[in-house]
Amino acid sequence: MPRKSKKNRGKNDVTSRKEQMIRSLDLPEEVMLDLPIVNAFGNKKIEIYNFKGLIEYSLEKIRINTSIGVLIVEGSKLEIKIMTTEDLHIIGIITQISYLI
């Protein structure tokens, strides 16, 4: 267990160093770090760019795999409007957006 945590810390150190470099060079963070972008239009619509894949889809819950962990969208009558490799548009009545890291 302690080994594992050490490894984890090491990984975190690397990302933070990378982050620091990107910040100092004034580069667009989300592109360089491969972060997911979530646009929310009130509680009616969510647009997610830069995701890795769909894990679960039901009318109440959608789980999406991203580079930083699992993105969970909860609500009711959820519907995937568009799905391509880059973007995922969800419509419905959204109550919660959360990350499971």
Binding site: G53, L54, I55, E56, Y57, S58, L59, L78, E79, I80, K81, I82, M83, T84, T85
Partner: protein
């Protein structure tokens, strides 16, 4: 909205996917750049929409993930095309329809004339008709500039005209000449002449030489006030004459006789209230009756109402709905009593008198006589009227005299 129209034109398939891991299926499909949209969960199945090309690439994805794909619906233009591929008359019919509309809209179906007050619209339409600018004429063959020239040439009262097409309408805009005001030349000499036989009651002369006095009787055409003014000259034997535009107020008593007559028997139409309506359709000049019932009225009046059909207000079509209304009546002869006839005659006679006399005329004395003769009542009104007398008449001067006049003018 626009995207859905695009999708409809391209055609799409509504599919139902069921299986153990539909999410994996979706990931795979997205990964292969197959466009899918409107994904909705229905129980343990997913329904979604996919383009026709995408559907063809779907089989390996389904096999790999162990999902079952079922087509629910095919939508869009390509499928409709496919369904009607053997019915060749549909595209032909569409082409014919478009050609027909194009043909119909290349003719003139209504002529509108705007801006005319004095000139009768029908006259203009008739003139245009003569040169081929008529309803049913081909628009291409009409040279509007020439028609404008033609109207300006043939109607002297038309100052300007602009003819243009508006859809299937031919619009003629007209500006009429404003009538030139009648110039009164106060320098040209005139006499005042009696316009009827009269007895002069009063005369006030402002300009000119009075030729009559109060109490004189004059005949029609007599000079009442002369424009000649003799210039008395003590030293010169030869008297000079000056000419002026005479002006005077003359009040005179004149005598009028007017006559008229009316028949005592009168034909009256007594409408029974029975009306029959007949509709028909008119295409250019040909009339098609919609129903063939006979009119069994012995005597009837009829009215025609026609309405032109229009595609839009700018595209009138050569079709008319015509409504003919037949109204039945029974002819009846009515005999008017002598009293009623005399009353109407009296009114008629006074109207006639008012037409002949001066506006400010005052009737001093009047006498009406009636005589009945063979079903006709005749009336005769004799009246003595006090009114203004005299009309201006220009003096024609020969050259010698005119010179004197000119000299006289220049001295002023």
């Amino acid at each position: 909205m626009l995207i859905s129209i695009w999708n409809y034109l391209r055609g799409y398939v509504m599919i139902e996917v069921s299986g153990f891991s539909v999410e994996r299926f979706l990931n795979l499909v997205a990964h292969r750049d197959i466009y899918i949209w409107d994904i909705e969960r229905q129980g343990n199945k997913l329904s979604m929409k996919i383009s026709i090309e995408g559907y063809k690439m779907l089989k390996p994805c389904a096999r790999k993930t162990g999902c079952k794909v079922r087509i629910k619906d095919k939508r869009g233009l390509p499928f409709i095309k496919h369904k009607y591929r053997k019915r060749k008359m549909i595209p032909i019919g569409m082409v014919i329809f478009i050609a027909l509309i194009y043909m119909i809209s290349s003719f003139v179906w209504l002529i509108e004339i705007e801006g005319n007050k004095k000139i009768d619209s029908q006259e203009i339409v008739d003139r245009l008709d003569q040169d081929g600018y008529k309803i049913g004429g081909l628009k291409k063959k009409m040279d509007l500039r020439e028609a404008e020239q033609m109207l300006m040439r043939d109607f002297p009262d038309v100052l300007w005209t602009g003819i243009s097409f508006e859809g299937t309408k031919l619009i003629v805009k007209i500006t009429e000449v404003v009538p030139e005001p009648k110039l009164i030349d106060y320098n040209s000499p005139t006499d005042i002449v009696a316009n009827s036989d009269a007895l002069i009651l009063d005369i006030v002369t402002r300009k000119g030489t009075p030729m009559v006095r109060k109490g004189d009787t004059v005949r029609k055409g007599d000079i009442l006030v002369s424009g000649e003014i003799p210039l008395a000259d003590e030293w010169d034997e030869e008297s000079k004459v000056s000419y002026t535009r005479s002006s005077a107020d003359i009040l005179a008593k004149t005598h009028y006789t007017v006559e008229t007559q009316i028949p005592l028997k009168k034909n009256v139409k007594k409408y029974t209230g029975a009306i029959k309506k007949k509709y028909s359709i008119r295409i250019i000049d040909k009339e098609i009756k919609l129903h063939n019932s006979k009119i069994d009225f012995r005597n009837y009046d009829y009215t025609i109402k026609s309405r032109q059909l229009q595609a839009t207000s700018k595209f009138p079509l050569p079709f008319y709905i015509v409504l003919k209304e037949y109204i039945e009546y029974i002819p009846k002869s009515q005999i008017i009593s002598d009293e009623l006839a005399q009353d109407t005659l009296r009114v008629m006679l006074h109207d006639l008198l008012a037409e002949e006399t001066h506006i400010n005329a005052e009737i001093i004395k009047q006498e009406v006589k009636f005589n009945k003769k063979g079903g006709i009542m005749g009336g005769r009104l004799q009246a003595i009227v006090k009114e203004e007398l005299g009309e201006e008449k220009s003096i024609i001067i020969n050259d010698g005299r005119n010179k004197v006049n000119d000299n006289e003018q220049s001295e002023h």
